[in-house]
Protein backbone atom coordinates (compact mmCIF):
# COMPACT_ATOMS: atom_id res chain seq x y z
CA UNK A 1 0.00 0.00 0.00
CA UNK A 2 1.47 3.32 -1.01
CA UNK A 3 0.42 6.60 0.51
CA UNK A 4 2.51 9.68 0.35
CA UNK A 5 1.50 12.89 1.95
CA UNK A 6 3.31 14.91 -0.67
CA UNK A 7 0.19 14.69 -2.83
CA UNK A 8 -1.66 16.77 -0.30
CA UNK A 9 0.44 19.89 -0.38
CA UNK A 10 3.69 20.80 -2.09
CA UNK A 11 4.65 23.26 0.66
CA UNK A 12 5.46 20.48 3.15
CA UNK A 13 8.99 19.22 3.73
CA UNK A 14 9.15 15.56 4.58
CA UNK A 15 11.19 14.75 7.67
CA UNK A 16 10.89 11.00 7.60
CA UNK A 17 10.21 8.99 4.49
CA UNK A 18 9.24 5.38 4.99
CA UNK A 19 9.32 2.92 2.10
CA UNK A 20 8.07 -0.67 2.35
CA UNK A 21 8.90 -0.90 6.05
CA UNK A 22 8.17 -4.42 7.22
CA UNK A 23 8.76 -5.90 10.69
CA UNK A 24 9.01 -9.55 11.70
CA UNK A 25 9.07 -11.12 15.14
CA UNK A 26 10.76 -14.43 14.47
CA UNK A 27 8.73 -15.88 11.61
CA UNK A 28 5.62 -13.86 12.47
CA UNK A 29 5.02 -10.65 10.57
CA UNK A 30 4.24 -7.79 12.94
CA UNK A 31 3.88 -5.12 10.29
CA UNK A 32 3.00 -5.44 6.60
CA UNK A 33 4.98 -3.16 4.26
CA UNK A 34 4.25 0.46 5.12
CA UNK A 35 5.01 3.42 2.91
CA UNK A 36 4.36 6.94 4.12
CA UNK A 37 5.97 10.34 4.59
CA UNK A 38 6.00 12.26 7.85
CA UNK A 39 6.01 16.04 7.33
CA UNK A 40 8.42 18.22 9.27
CA UNK A 41 7.17 20.18 12.29
CA UNK A 42 3.80 18.49 12.14
CA UNK A 43 2.17 16.12 14.58
CA UNK A 44 1.27 12.74 13.19
CA UNK A 45 -0.97 10.45 15.22
CA UNK A 46 -0.90 6.67 14.85
CA UNK A 47 -4.20 5.12 15.84
CA UNK A 48 -5.71 1.65 15.81
CA UNK A 49 -6.75 -1.14 18.17
CA UNK A 50 -4.24 -2.94 20.41
CA UNK A 51 -1.80 -5.12 18.53
CA UNK A 52 -2.42 -3.35 15.23
CA UNK A 53 1.23 -2.56 14.63
CA UNK A 54 1.26 1.14 15.48
CA UNK A 55 3.80 0.80 18.31
CA UNK A 56 5.87 -1.59 16.21
CA UNK A 57 5.91 1.03 13.47
CA UNK A 58 6.85 3.79 15.91
CA UNK A 59 9.68 1.78 17.40
CA UNK A 60 11.15 1.05 13.99
CA UNK A 61 11.55 4.76 13.38
CA UNK A 62 14.41 5.05 15.90
CA UNK A 63 15.63 1.46 15.72
CA UNK A 64 14.34 0.54 19.19
CA UNK A 65 12.82 -2.62 17.71
CA UNK A 66 16.15 -4.28 17.26
CA UNK A 67 16.54 -4.48 21.05
CA UNK A 68 13.87 -7.17 20.99
CA UNK A 69 15.39 -10.60 20.39
CA UNK A 70 14.25 -12.10 17.10
CA UNK A 71 12.95 -8.85 15.66
CA UNK A 72 13.86 -8.13 12.04
CA UNK A 73 13.18 -4.99 10.05
CA UNK A 74 13.05 -4.73 6.25
CA UNK A 75 12.56 -1.76 4.00
CA UNK A 76 13.86 1.78 4.04
CA UNK A 77 13.43 4.66 6.48
CA UNK A 78 15.08 7.96 5.66
CA UNK A 79 15.63 10.89 7.98
CA UNK A 80 16.24 13.90 5.71
CA UNK A 81 17.25 11.50 2.92
CA UNK A 82 19.67 9.59 5.14
CA UNK A 83 18.81 5.89 5.41
CA UNK A 84 18.63 5.08 9.13
CA UNK A 85 18.91 1.36 8.40
CA UNK A 86 21.79 1.92 5.98
CA UNK A 87 25.01 -0.08 6.28
CA UNK A 88 27.38 1.42 8.82
CA UNK A 89 24.70 3.60 10.43
CA UNK A 90 25.03 3.47 14.22
CA UNK A 91 21.65 3.16 15.95
CA UNK A 92 23.08 5.30 18.76
CA UNK A 93 23.40 8.22 16.33
CA UNK A 94 19.89 7.62 14.98
CA UNK A 95 18.45 7.70 18.50
CA UNK A 96 20.20 10.99 19.28
CA UNK A 97 18.35 12.57 16.35
CA UNK A 98 15.05 10.77 16.93
CA UNK A 99 14.07 10.89 20.60
CA UNK A 100 11.40 8.84 22.31
CA UNK A 101 8.93 9.13 25.17
CA UNK A 102 7.39 5.94 26.52
CA UNK A 103 3.94 4.95 27.69
CA UNK A 104 4.94 4.53 31.30
CA UNK A 105 7.07 7.35 32.57
CA UNK A 106 10.48 5.92 33.28
CA UNK A 107 12.67 8.49 35.04
CA UNK A 108 16.01 7.25 36.31
CA UNK A 109 16.21 6.97 40.10
CA UNK A 110 18.46 10.02 40.13
CA UNK A 111 17.83 13.68 40.84
CA UNK A 112 15.54 15.73 38.60
CA UNK A 113 18.57 17.61 37.32
CA UNK A 114 20.58 14.48 36.59
CA UNK A 115 17.68 12.91 34.70
CA UNK A 116 17.64 15.76 32.21
CA UNK A 117 21.42 16.06 32.14
CA UNK A 118 21.87 12.33 31.45
CA UNK A 119 21.57 12.55 27.68
CA UNK A 120 23.95 15.50 27.60
CA UNK A 121 26.57 13.80 29.73
CA UNK A 122 26.55 10.57 27.74
CA UNK A 123 26.79 12.71 24.63
CA UNK A 124 30.11 13.99 25.91
CA UNK A 125 29.08 17.44 27.17
CA UNK A 126 31.01 18.19 30.35
CA UNK A 127 30.77 21.95 30.65
CA UNK A 128 28.76 22.63 33.83
CA UNK A 129 27.40 25.93 32.62
CA UNK A 130 26.22 24.51 29.34
CA UNK A 131 24.59 21.53 31.04
CA UNK A 132 22.78 23.75 33.56
CA UNK A 133 21.57 26.03 30.79
CA UNK A 134 20.32 23.21 28.59
CA UNK A 135 18.64 21.45 31.52
CA UNK A 136 16.74 24.64 32.31
CA UNK A 137 15.78 25.13 28.68
CA UNK A 138 14.55 21.54 28.33
CA UNK A 139 12.54 21.74 31.56
CA UNK A 140 11.00 25.06 30.51
CA UNK A 141 10.18 23.61 27.13
CA UNK A 142 8.45 20.69 28.80
CA UNK A 143 6.47 23.14 30.97
CA UNK A 144 8.00 21.75 34.14
CA UNK A 145 10.60 24.38 35.08
CA UNK A 146 8.34 26.50 37.28
CA UNK A 147 7.28 23.46 39.29
CA UNK A 148 10.72 22.00 39.89
CA UNK A 149 13.22 24.86 39.76
CA UNK A 150 13.57 24.91 43.56
CA UNK A 151 13.95 21.17 43.94
CA UNK A 152 16.25 20.13 41.12
CA UNK A 153 18.35 17.97 43.44
CA UNK A 154 15.39 15.96 44.69
CA UNK A 155 14.89 12.43 43.43
CA UNK A 156 12.81 12.31 40.27
CA UNK A 157 10.66 9.56 41.74
CA UNK A 158 9.24 12.08 44.22
CA UNK A 159 7.39 13.84 41.38
CA UNK A 160 3.75 13.10 40.53
CA UNK A 161 2.90 10.85 37.57
CA UNK A 162 2.18 13.73 35.24
CA UNK A 163 5.31 15.58 36.30
CA UNK A 164 7.37 12.43 35.80
CA UNK A 165 6.09 12.10 32.25
CA UNK A 166 6.91 15.75 31.53
CA UNK A 167 10.34 15.12 33.02
CA UNK A 168 10.78 12.26 30.56
CA UNK A 169 9.79 14.62 27.75
CA UNK A 170 12.30 17.20 29.04
CA UNK A 171 14.95 14.49 29.19
CA UNK A 172 14.27 13.61 25.56
CA UNK A 173 14.26 17.28 24.51
CA UNK A 174 17.55 18.08 26.26
CA UNK A 175 19.59 16.26 23.62
CA UNK A 176 17.77 18.37 20.99
CA UNK A 177 16.47 15.66 18.70
CA UNK A 178 14.82 16.54 15.40
CA UNK A 179 11.98 14.07 15.75
CA UNK A 180 10.11 13.11 18.92
CA UNK A 181 8.35 9.74 19.05
CA UNK A 182 5.71 9.36 21.75
CA UNK A 183 4.23 5.98 22.62
CA UNK A 184 0.87 6.67 24.31
CA UNK A 185 2.50 9.32 26.50
CA UNK A 186 -0.69 10.19 28.38
CA UNK A 187 -2.41 6.84 28.72
CA UNK A 188 -1.37 6.39 32.35
CA UNK A 189 -2.25 9.94 33.40
CA UNK A 190 -5.32 11.65 34.82
CA UNK A 191 -7.32 14.12 32.64
CA UNK A 192 -5.56 17.23 33.98
CA UNK A 193 -2.09 15.81 33.44
CA UNK A 194 -3.24 14.61 30.02
CA UNK A 195 -4.37 18.11 29.11
CA UNK A 196 -0.94 19.39 30.15
CA UNK A 197 0.78 16.91 27.86
CA UNK A 198 -1.53 17.69 24.96
CA UNK A 199 -0.86 21.43 25.25
CA UNK A 200 2.81 20.59 25.37
CA UNK A 201 2.64 18.49 22.18
CA UNK A 202 0.95 21.38 20.41
CA UNK A 203 3.74 23.65 21.54
CA UNK A 204 6.47 21.21 20.61
CA UNK A 205 5.27 20.94 17.04
CA UNK A 206 6.59 24.44 16.41
CA UNK A 207 10.12 23.06 16.62
CA UNK A 208 9.88 19.31 16.36
CA UNK A 209 8.43 16.66 14.16
CA UNK A 210 6.21 14.67 16.50
CA UNK A 211 4.86 11.16 15.97
CA UNK A 212 2.44 10.01 18.64
CA UNK A 213 0.77 6.68 19.21
CA UNK A 214 -2.56 6.98 20.98
CA UNK A 215 -5.52 4.81 21.92
CA UNK A 216 -7.61 7.87 22.46
CA UNK A 217 -9.24 9.11 19.28
CA UNK A 218 -10.29 12.45 20.73
CA UNK A 219 -6.67 12.96 21.61
CA UNK A 220 -5.57 12.13 18.08
CA UNK A 221 -8.16 14.55 16.71
CA UNK A 222 -7.09 17.28 19.15
CA UNK A 223 -3.32 17.16 18.84
CA UNK A 224 -2.43 15.90 15.38
CA UNK A 225 -2.19 17.35 11.88
CA UNK A 226 -1.98 13.93 10.28
CA UNK A 227 -3.42 10.58 11.27
CA UNK A 228 -2.43 7.08 10.22
CA UNK A 229 -4.86 4.25 10.97
CA UNK A 230 -3.37 0.81 11.47
CA UNK A 231 -5.33 -2.42 11.64
CA UNK A 232 -4.07 -6.01 11.99
CA UNK A 233 -0.46 -5.09 11.25
CA UNK A 234 -1.29 -3.04 8.18
CA UNK A 235 -1.53 0.65 7.42
CA UNK A 236 -5.13 1.15 6.32
CA UNK A 237 -5.30 4.87 5.77
CA UNK A 238 -3.12 7.95 6.17
CA UNK A 239 -4.31 11.47 5.63
CA UNK A 240 -4.85 14.87 7.19
CA UNK A 241 -6.48 14.43 10.58
CA UNK A 242 -9.57 16.46 9.67
CA UNK A 243 -10.13 14.26 6.63
CA UNK A 244 -9.63 11.00 8.58
CA UNK A 245 -12.13 12.11 11.19
CA UNK A 246 -14.73 13.63 8.85
CA UNK A 247 -14.68 11.75 5.57
CA UNK A 248 -12.28 8.81 5.62
CA UNK A 249 -11.99 6.96 2.34
CA UNK A 250 -11.85 3.45 3.78
CA UNK A 251 -14.93 1.87 5.44
CA UNK A 252 -12.64 0.17 7.99
CA UNK A 253 -11.37 3.57 9.15
CA UNK A 254 -14.87 4.91 9.46
CA UNK A 255 -15.94 1.86 11.48
CA UNK A 256 -13.06 2.39 13.86
CA UNK A 257 -13.36 6.12 14.41
CA UNK A 258 -17.12 5.90 14.87
CA UNK A 259 -16.52 3.29 17.54
CA UNK A 260 -17.99 0.27 15.77
CA UNK A 261 -15.02 -1.85 16.89
CA UNK A 262 -11.68 -1.62 18.63
Amino acid sequence: MTMTASAHGPELTMKLTVRDLEVFYGSKRGLAPVTLDLPEKNVTALIGPSGCGKSTFLRSLNRMNELIAGCKVKGDVRLDDEPIYGPGIDPVVVRRRIGMVFQRSNPFPKSIFENVAYGLRIGGINDRGEIAERVERALSHAALWEEVKDRLQENALSLSGGQQQRLCIARALAVEPEVLLMDEPASALDPIATAHIEELIDDLSKNYTVVIVTHNMQQAARVSDWTAFFYMGELVEYDRTNIIFTKPSKPKTEDYITGRFG
Binding site: M64, A69, V93, R95, F108, G119, G123, L157, R171
Partner: protein, 319 residues
Amino acid sequence: MTVAARVDSGRSRPFVRAMRNRAGDVALAVSSGAAILLVLMILAVILGDVVIHGGRRLSLSFFFTAPTEGMTQGGIFPALFGTLAMVLLMTVAVVPVGVATAVYLHEYAPARSLLTRAVRIAVSNLAGVPSIVFGLFGLGFFIQFVGVGLDKIFHGGERVWGQPALVWAALTMAVLTLPVVIVATEEALRAVPRELREASLALGATQFQTVYKVVLPQAVPGILTGTILAISRGAGEVAPILFTGVAYFLPHLPDSLHQQFMHLGNHIYVLSTQSPDVDATKPLLYATVLVLLIVTFVLNLAAVVVRARMRRRLAGVGA
Protein backbone atom coordinates in the same frame (compact mmCIF):
# COMPACT_ATOMS: atom_id res chain seq x y z
CA MET B 1 -32.06 -44.72 51.31
CA THR B 2 -34.70 -42.15 52.03
CA VAL B 3 -34.78 -38.76 50.52
CA ALA B 4 -33.99 -37.16 53.84
CA ALA B 5 -30.92 -39.31 54.39
CA ARG B 6 -29.61 -38.46 50.96
CA VAL B 7 -30.01 -34.77 51.59
CA ASP B 8 -28.33 -35.19 54.94
CA SER B 9 -25.29 -37.01 53.56
CA GLY B 10 -25.13 -34.45 50.77
CA ARG B 11 -24.78 -31.78 53.40
CA SER B 12 -22.37 -33.54 55.67
CA ARG B 13 -19.78 -34.51 53.06
CA PRO B 14 -18.51 -30.96 52.43
CA PHE B 15 -18.71 -30.40 56.17
CA VAL B 16 -16.49 -33.40 56.88
CA ARG B 17 -14.11 -32.22 54.19
CA ALA B 18 -13.96 -28.77 55.76
CA MET B 19 -13.22 -30.32 59.15
CA ARG B 20 -10.50 -32.46 57.65
CA ASN B 21 -8.99 -29.36 56.00
CA ARG B 22 -9.14 -27.53 59.29
CA ALA B 23 -7.37 -30.44 60.99
CA GLY B 24 -4.75 -30.29 58.25
CA ASP B 25 -4.23 -26.57 58.85
CA VAL B 26 -3.73 -27.12 62.56
CA ALA B 27 -1.35 -30.03 62.01
CA LEU B 28 0.68 -27.97 59.56
CA ALA B 29 0.84 -24.99 61.91
CA VAL B 30 1.89 -27.17 64.84
CA SER B 31 4.53 -29.09 62.93
CA SER B 32 6.07 -26.04 61.29
CA GLY B 33 6.03 -24.25 64.64
CA ALA B 34 7.81 -27.21 66.20
CA ALA B 35 10.37 -27.22 63.39
CA ILE B 36 11.11 -23.52 63.91
CA LEU B 37 11.40 -24.09 67.64
CA LEU B 38 13.85 -26.92 67.06
CA VAL B 39 16.03 -24.75 64.81
CA LEU B 40 15.97 -21.89 67.31
CA MET B 41 16.85 -24.26 70.15
CA ILE B 42 19.81 -25.72 68.28
CA LEU B 43 21.03 -22.19 67.51
CA ALA B 44 20.50 -21.14 71.13
CA VAL B 45 22.41 -24.14 72.45
CA ILE B 46 25.35 -23.57 70.11
CA LEU B 47 25.51 -19.83 70.69
CA GLY B 48 24.85 -20.14 74.42
CA ASP B 49 27.55 -22.75 74.88
CA VAL B 50 30.08 -20.71 72.91
CA VAL B 51 29.22 -17.41 74.57
CA ILE B 52 29.21 -18.80 78.11
CA HIS B 53 32.47 -20.71 77.78
CA GLY B 54 34.21 -18.33 75.41
CA GLY B 55 33.04 -15.04 76.87
CA ARG B 56 35.01 -15.53 80.06
CA ARG B 57 38.28 -15.78 78.20
CA LEU B 58 37.60 -12.79 75.92
CA SER B 59 39.54 -9.62 76.59
CA LEU B 60 41.21 -6.93 74.59
CA SER B 61 44.57 -8.63 75.00
CA PHE B 62 43.08 -11.88 73.66
CA PHE B 63 42.36 -10.06 70.40
CA PHE B 64 45.69 -8.33 70.20
CA THR B 65 48.35 -10.80 71.33
CA ALA B 66 49.87 -13.85 69.70
CA PRO B 67 49.52 -17.39 71.08
CA THR B 68 52.22 -18.31 73.60
CA GLU B 69 53.34 -21.31 75.65
CA GLY B 70 52.65 -23.87 72.93
CA MET B 71 49.27 -22.21 72.25
CA THR B 72 48.00 -22.77 75.76
CA GLN B 73 48.24 -19.06 76.58
CA GLY B 74 48.04 -15.73 74.80
CA GLY B 75 45.65 -14.54 72.13
CA ILE B 76 44.76 -14.94 68.51
CA PHE B 77 45.94 -11.75 66.86
CA PRO B 78 47.84 -13.41 63.97
CA ALA B 79 44.84 -15.62 63.13
CA LEU B 80 42.45 -12.67 63.28
CA PHE B 81 44.73 -10.58 61.11
CA GLY B 82 45.22 -13.43 58.64
CA THR B 83 41.51 -14.09 58.33
CA LEU B 84 40.68 -10.44 57.70
CA ALA B 85 43.53 -10.03 55.21
CA MET B 86 42.52 -13.16 53.33
CA VAL B 87 38.84 -12.18 53.20
CA LEU B 88 39.71 -8.67 52.03
CA LEU B 89 41.97 -9.97 49.25
CA MET B 90 39.35 -12.53 48.28
CA THR B 91 36.67 -9.84 48.03
CA VAL B 92 38.88 -7.62 45.92
CA ALA B 93 39.41 -10.55 43.55
CA VAL B 94 35.96 -12.10 43.43
CA VAL B 95 33.66 -9.07 43.14
CA PRO B 96 35.03 -7.58 39.89
CA VAL B 97 35.30 -10.96 38.19
CA GLY B 98 31.90 -12.12 39.38
CA VAL B 99 30.15 -8.88 38.46
CA ALA B 100 31.83 -8.77 35.05
CA THR B 101 30.77 -12.35 34.36
CA ALA B 102 27.18 -11.67 35.37
CA VAL B 103 27.06 -8.47 33.29
CA TYR B 104 28.35 -10.37 30.28
CA LEU B 105 25.86 -13.20 30.78
CA HIS B 106 22.87 -10.97 31.34
CA GLU B 107 23.52 -7.85 29.28
CA TYR B 108 25.69 -8.89 26.38
CA ALA B 109 25.61 -12.61 25.66
CA PRO B 110 22.89 -13.79 23.29
CA ALA B 111 20.40 -15.49 25.60
CA ARG B 112 20.29 -18.89 23.96
CA SER B 113 23.79 -19.25 22.58
CA LEU B 114 25.88 -22.32 23.25
CA LEU B 115 28.57 -20.31 25.01
CA THR B 116 26.11 -18.63 27.40
CA ARG B 117 24.59 -21.95 28.28
CA ALA B 118 28.00 -23.52 28.78
CA VAL B 119 29.09 -20.71 31.13
CA ARG B 120 25.85 -21.00 33.12
CA ILE B 121 26.26 -24.76 33.52
CA ALA B 122 29.89 -24.26 34.54
CA VAL B 123 28.88 -21.71 37.18
CA SER B 124 26.24 -23.91 38.76
CA ASN B 125 28.59 -26.91 38.72
CA LEU B 126 31.28 -24.79 40.34
CA ALA B 127 28.86 -24.14 43.20
CA GLY B 128 28.49 -27.87 43.77
CA VAL B 129 32.17 -28.78 43.97
CA PRO B 130 33.31 -29.86 47.48
CA SER B 131 35.52 -27.22 49.06
CA ILE B 132 38.50 -29.55 49.58
CA VAL B 133 38.61 -29.99 45.80
CA PHE B 134 39.04 -26.24 45.47
CA GLY B 135 41.97 -26.56 47.85
CA LEU B 136 43.59 -29.16 45.61
CA PHE B 137 42.83 -27.01 42.56
CA GLY B 138 44.48 -24.03 44.24
CA LEU B 139 47.55 -26.11 45.04
CA GLY B 140 47.79 -27.46 41.50
CA PHE B 141 46.89 -24.34 39.56
CA PHE B 142 47.88 -21.29 41.61
CA ILE B 143 50.94 -22.66 43.42
CA GLN B 144 52.39 -25.34 41.15
CA PHE B 145 51.51 -23.69 37.87
CA VAL B 146 51.20 -19.90 38.34
CA GLY B 147 53.52 -19.56 41.35
CA VAL B 148 56.26 -21.85 40.11
CA GLY B 149 55.90 -20.27 36.68
CA LEU B 150 56.40 -16.79 38.13
CA ASP B 151 59.47 -17.99 40.02
CA LYS B 152 60.98 -19.43 36.85
CA ILE B 153 60.48 -16.17 35.00
CA PHE B 154 61.33 -13.61 37.68
CA HIS B 155 63.39 -15.35 40.35
CA GLY B 156 65.51 -17.87 38.41
CA GLY B 157 63.69 -20.82 39.94
CA GLU B 158 64.15 -19.70 43.52
CA ARG B 159 61.01 -20.35 45.59
CA VAL B 160 59.20 -17.09 46.21
CA TRP B 161 55.70 -17.45 44.78
CA GLY B 162 55.70 -21.20 44.25
CA GLN B 163 54.63 -22.10 47.78
CA PRO B 164 51.52 -21.78 49.93
CA ALA B 165 50.83 -18.09 50.45
CA LEU B 166 48.22 -15.53 51.47
CA VAL B 167 47.56 -14.52 47.87
CA TRP B 168 47.00 -18.09 46.64
CA ALA B 169 44.67 -18.89 49.53
CA ALA B 170 42.67 -15.73 48.82
CA LEU B 171 42.45 -16.50 45.11
CA THR B 172 41.40 -20.10 45.80
CA MET B 173 38.70 -18.82 48.12
CA ALA B 174 37.68 -16.32 45.41
CA VAL B 175 37.15 -19.18 42.95
CA LEU B 176 35.06 -20.97 45.57
CA THR B 177 32.83 -17.94 46.17
CA LEU B 178 32.63 -16.87 42.51
CA PRO B 179 29.28 -18.61 41.79
CA VAL B 180 27.69 -16.85 44.75
CA VAL B 181 28.61 -13.41 43.39
CA ILE B 182 27.66 -14.29 39.81
CA VAL B 183 24.24 -15.66 40.72
CA ALA B 184 23.39 -12.78 43.07
CA THR B 185 24.51 -10.18 40.53
CA GLU B 186 22.53 -11.76 37.71
CA GLU B 187 19.49 -11.81 39.94
CA ALA B 188 19.98 -8.10 40.63
CA LEU B 189 20.42 -7.29 36.94
CA ARG B 190 17.26 -9.20 36.11
CA ALA B 191 15.36 -7.00 38.57
CA VAL B 192 16.34 -3.75 36.80
CA PRO B 193 13.26 -2.71 34.80
CA ARG B 194 13.54 -2.91 31.02
CA GLU B 195 12.00 0.58 30.86
CA LEU B 196 15.15 2.10 32.37
CA ARG B 197 17.38 0.40 29.83
CA GLU B 198 15.10 1.59 27.03
CA ALA B 199 15.02 5.13 28.39
CA SER B 200 18.80 5.25 28.33
CA LEU B 201 19.18 3.69 24.90
CA ALA B 202 16.48 5.94 23.43
CA LEU B 203 18.54 8.94 24.53
CA GLY B 204 21.38 7.72 22.37
CA ALA B 205 23.37 5.95 25.06
CA THR B 206 25.55 3.05 24.02
CA GLN B 207 25.05 -0.37 25.55
CA PHE B 208 28.12 0.18 27.74
CA GLN B 209 26.93 3.60 28.98
CA THR B 210 23.54 2.10 29.77
CA VAL B 211 25.04 -0.74 31.77
CA TYR B 212 27.57 1.45 33.54
CA LYS B 213 25.40 4.45 34.38
CA VAL B 214 21.89 3.05 34.73
CA VAL B 215 21.84 -0.72 35.20
CA LEU B 216 24.80 -1.29 37.52
CA PRO B 217 23.93 1.48 40.02
CA GLN B 218 20.47 -0.11 40.32
CA ALA B 219 22.03 -3.51 40.87
CA VAL B 220 24.43 -2.41 43.63
CA PRO B 221 22.27 -3.64 46.55
CA GLY B 222 22.00 -7.06 44.92
CA ILE B 223 25.73 -7.14 44.23
CA LEU B 224 26.34 -6.32 47.88
CA THR B 225 24.08 -9.19 48.88
CA GLY B 226 26.27 -11.49 46.82
CA THR B 227 29.36 -9.99 48.40
CA ILE B 228 27.95 -10.55 51.90
CA LEU B 229 27.27 -14.19 51.12
CA ALA B 230 30.73 -14.62 49.62
CA ILE B 231 32.39 -13.03 52.65
CA SER B 232 30.46 -15.18 55.12
CA ARG B 233 31.40 -18.27 53.19
CA GLY B 234 35.02 -17.19 52.73
CA ALA B 235 35.57 -16.29 56.38
CA GLY B 236 34.41 -19.67 57.59
CA GLU B 237 35.81 -22.15 55.06
CA VAL B 238 39.06 -23.88 55.95
CA ALA B 239 39.41 -26.73 53.46
CA PRO B 240 40.36 -24.56 50.44
CA ILE B 241 43.21 -22.88 52.31
CA LEU B 242 44.67 -25.97 53.95
CA PHE B 243 47.10 -26.60 51.09
CA THR B 244 47.24 -23.10 49.70
CA GLY B 245 48.47 -20.81 52.44
CA VAL B 246 47.39 -21.39 56.00
CA ALA B 247 50.03 -21.99 58.66
CA TYR B 248 49.88 -23.94 61.91
CA PHE B 249 51.73 -21.24 63.79
CA LEU B 250 53.68 -18.16 62.76
CA PRO B 251 55.79 -16.08 65.11
CA HIS B 252 55.07 -12.89 63.14
CA LEU B 253 52.44 -11.45 60.83
CA PRO B 254 52.74 -11.95 57.06
CA ASP B 255 54.18 -8.77 55.56
CA SER B 256 53.81 -9.73 51.92
CA LEU B 257 51.38 -11.55 49.69
CA HIS B 258 53.67 -14.55 49.21
CA GLN B 259 53.90 -15.44 52.88
CA GLN B 260 51.79 -17.88 54.80
CA PHE B 261 49.21 -16.72 57.33
CA MET B 262 47.23 -17.94 60.31
CA HIS B 263 43.46 -18.24 60.09
CA LEU B 264 40.74 -18.41 62.73
CA GLY B 265 39.01 -21.47 61.31
CA ASN B 266 42.25 -23.36 61.00
CA HIS B 267 43.33 -22.16 64.42
CA ILE B 268 40.21 -23.71 65.91
CA TYR B 269 41.08 -27.00 64.23
CA VAL B 270 44.66 -26.75 65.49
CA LEU B 271 43.61 -25.91 69.05
CA SER B 272 41.12 -28.77 69.23
CA THR B 273 43.16 -31.54 67.65
CA GLN B 274 46.85 -30.64 67.43
CA SER B 275 47.50 -29.28 70.86
CA PRO B 276 49.78 -31.18 73.24
CA ASP B 277 47.52 -30.26 76.15
CA VAL B 278 43.87 -30.25 75.07
CA ASP B 279 42.50 -29.34 78.50
CA ALA B 280 44.71 -26.28 78.70
CA THR B 281 43.62 -25.01 75.28
CA LYS B 282 39.90 -25.55 75.81
CA PRO B 283 39.06 -22.05 77.13
CA LEU B 284 41.10 -20.57 74.30
CA LEU B 285 39.26 -22.76 71.83
CA TYR B 286 35.86 -21.52 72.98
CA ALA B 287 36.99 -17.92 72.86
CA THR B 288 38.41 -18.38 69.36
CA VAL B 289 35.13 -19.85 68.11
CA LEU B 290 33.32 -16.88 69.60
CA VAL B 291 35.69 -14.48 67.83
CA LEU B 292 35.14 -16.25 64.51
CA LEU B 293 31.39 -15.92 64.98
CA ILE B 294 31.77 -12.25 65.90
CA VAL B 295 33.98 -11.55 62.87
CA THR B 296 31.50 -13.20 60.49
CA PHE B 297 28.64 -11.37 62.14
CA VAL B 298 30.35 -7.98 61.99
CA LEU B 299 31.31 -8.43 58.33
CA ASN B 300 27.71 -9.38 57.55
CA LEU B 301 26.31 -6.51 59.53
CA ALA B 302 28.58 -4.00 57.80
CA ALA B 303 27.49 -5.20 54.40
CA VAL B 304 23.81 -5.25 55.39
CA VAL B 305 24.04 -1.66 56.63
CA VAL B 306 25.74 -0.52 53.43
CA ARG B 307 23.12 -2.31 51.36
CA ALA B 308 20.23 -0.77 53.30
CA ARG B 309 21.71 2.70 52.78
CA MET B 310 22.12 2.05 49.05
CA ARG B 311 18.52 0.84 48.80
CA ARG B 312 17.24 3.93 50.55
CA ARG B 313 19.21 6.14 48.22
CA LEU B 314 17.87 4.35 45.16
CA ALA B 315 14.32 4.59 46.44
CA GLY B 316 14.79 8.34 46.69
CA VAL B 317 14.26 8.68 50.42
CA GLY B 318 17.77 9.48 51.51
CA ALA B 319 18.81 11.57 48.48
